[in-house]
């Protein structure tokens, strides 16, 4: 039987004003696999991620998370102008005792994470002077520095150029395949899910989700149902291998 890394059942959550975001959601992710979550704006993707990392507690149902999580938020603002290295170093918090400060080993781990993403040159730069895309990469480096079991990413490519989107997608795949990490990420790009996710969840409504192998879940019909936009499946060959992508067709735009 496959070991589950994350499993939730009957999951429900609503914010203060009573508007329900999630009702009776169920889903699971196997250890070492990648799950992509797609859904329209405001459907509760970030709320679901916050429930997974424990920043919110479910009001209904249960959620079981096996292992330590690292989180990459979609937007990241800082109130103080910490250096990039200091920001990444904070990913080591779970290894630092309450009344202590990071060790030299923690600093090395933070530098290694920056080097992996080609950000070593930015180490001493103030984080708040970076572009949105650079910030997103730095926070991804911080997630790498945590050496967590589960990586939870909220639209990790939303501020990145096409090349850096590829870098992050490649890292998601490598962390899963080579290091056995479980990765959960939200995205608005079906092709990103198609490229790296073993499983995909479509958040169709408060109560309704569709979760399964990516190849089966991401179809023209399901995407149309999800976004209300017509999608076209485009098959193509790359290095002798068959692949496919999905392109939205915006009617009325000529």
């Amino acid at each position: 039987m496959t070991e589950k890394s994350i499993a939730f059942e009957g999951l429900g959550f609503s914010y203060d004003r009573g508007r329900s975001v999630l009702q009776a959601y169920r889903g699971e992710v196997e250890r070492g696999k990648v799950l992509a979550i797609l859904g329209p704006n405001g459907c509760g993707k970030t709320t679901l991620l916050k429930l997974i990392i424990g920043a919110l507690s479910p009001q209904k149902g249960t959620i079981r998370v096996e292992g330590r999580t690292a989180f990459v938020p979609q937007l990241f603002q800082v109130s103080f102008s910490y250096s990039v290295l200091d920001m990444v170093l904070m990913g080591r918090a779970h290894r630092v005792a309450l009344f202590s400060v990071p060790s030299a080993e923690d600093v090395k781990a933070a530098r290694r994470a920056l080097e992996k993403l080609g950000l070593a040159d930015l180490a001493e730069r103030p984080f708040d002077e970076l572009s949105g895309g650079q910030r997103q990469l730095v926070i991804f480096a911080r997630a790498l520095a945590t050496e967590a079991d589960i990586l939870v990413l909220d639209e990790p490519t939303s501020a990145l150029d096409l090349k850096n989107q590829g870098v992050i997608l490649e890292w998601i795949r490598r962390l899963s395949r080579e290091q056995g990490l479980t990765v959960v990420f939200t995205t608005h790009h079906p092709q990103h899910a198609h490229a790296v996710a073993d499983a995909t969840m479509l958040m169709l409504g408060e109560r309704e989700s569709l979760c399964g192998p990516t190849g089966q879940v991401i179809t023209e019909e399901n995407l149309h149902r999800l976004y209300g936009v017509v999608f076209k499946r485009i098959p193509f060959q790359v290095e002798g291998t068959s692949a496919e992508t999905f392109v939205p067709i915006y009617s009325g735009l000529g």
């Binding site: 990913g91 918090a93 600093v107």
Partner: protein, 350 residues
């Protein structure tokens, strides 16, 4: 300092901290020397050295009056002033970190107002000095409990509900202070209340020193040990929680420690404002925003700043000026300058 601040900033921070320590030591000698009864700095140094355990015996080449002025009058006051300045600046640095806002000071959590009410109530009830200290301390802590309760009633433990609860509790105790003053005998008690609220160390002695010393040193050490955790809290609740920080208990633990320090200060010296707001900005300009360096730098700068202010308060005029007035008079324009400088450097870009 620790071994993990990055090298250039670590070196700079160490230099700044040692320089501040040296300034504090020199300023302390001058503080003990200056006053209506002048004691030469060399004599001050000899009196102090003679008291160091294990030091070579120093022949008492000073008059008994000089020893009394330095040892019994000015030294306890110096210690209380320095500890108050250190504690308030440290509290301000922590609060600005955990509230993610550089415009926050110790007045925000309502403790100053609560302690102020305790003090004026004790004066109204003609309680002795111990009563003033005790009630100021008790109402300072009560204010924190009320802030905690109100923020819980709001149903969310976030920063905004905490700030609003602090504003409400401050306003409530501020009104009670006004009411107490209104009820006070305008000739027998009101002047004492007003003078106490202005903030002064004029009544400092060795008996009062432990009242501010023990809570400030104990809580201050714990806060300094938590300095890297303040960095984590400054990221915001969701992000800090995602990094494994138990945000609620840690933030309330820090607030309790800050309340201890602020209550202790108000109870012995009345209202001394602006230090917790202004000093962390100066410290940030010197050593950067990392609380590992910022908090120790704030401690030393706060001690120096209040020491200088109190020295001026004692010596500027023939009648001592309440130091709380001076810190406000100097603090407001200095803060305006610092705020302008930091804006120019990019606060508020976010």
């Amino acid at each position: 300092m620790n071994a993990t601040l990055q090298k250039p900033s670590r070196t700079r921070a160490l230099i700044v901290l040692f320089a501040l320590l040296a300034v504090l030591a020199i300023a302390s000698v001058f503080y003990l020397a200056l006053g209506r009864y002048y004691v030469p700095a060399g004599t001050v140094a000899r009196i102090l050295l003679a008291a160091v355990p294990g030091s070579a015996p120093v022949s008492p080449r000073w008059q008994e009056t000089e020893w009394i002025v330095v040892w019994l009058v000015r030294l306890p006051r110096l210690l209380m002033v320095v500890l108050a300045g250190m504690g308030l600046a440290l509290s301000g640095a922590c609060l600005q970190g955990i509230f993610r806002n550089p415009l926050v000071g110790p007045h925000l959590v309502g403790v100053s107002s609560g302690a102020s009410f305790g003090g004026v109530l004790a004066i109204l009830l003609s309680l002795p000095a111990a009563g003033v200290v005790g009630l100021a301390f008790a109402f300072g802590m009560l204010a924190l409990v009320m802030v905690f309760g109100l923020s819980r009633l709001a149903g969310r433990a976030g920063i905004l509900s905490l700030v609003l609860a602090g504003v409400i509790v401050s306003a409530f105790f501020g009104a009670l202070v006004g009411l107490t003053q209104h009820l006070a005998d305008p000739e027998a008690k009101l002047p004492g209340m007003v003078y106490w609220l202005m903030g002064s160390f004029a009544g400092a002695d060795w008996k009062k020193a432990p009242i501010i010393g023990i809570p400030t040193v104990a809580a201050g050490i714990v806060l300094l040990l938590l300095r890297w955790r303040i960095n984590l809290l400054s990221l915001g609740d969701t992000d800090a929680a995602a990094l494994g920080v138990k945000v609620g208990p840690l933030r309330w633990g820090v607030l309790v420690l800050i309340s201890l320090i602020v209550s202790a200060q108000v109870s012995v010296s009345g209202g001394v404002g602006w230090i917790g707001l202004v000093i962390p900005h100066f410290a940030r300009m010197l050593v950067g925003p990392d609380h590992r360096a910022l908090m120790p730098a704030s401690v030393l700068l706060g001690g120096i700043y209040l020491l200088v202010m109190d020295c001026l308060a004692r010596n500027l005029t023939s009648l001592e000026i309440p130091v709380g007035l001076l810190t406000a008079l100097v603090g407001a324009p200095v803060f305006a300058f610092v705020f302008w400088k930091t804006q120019a450097r990019g606060w508020g870009r976010d």
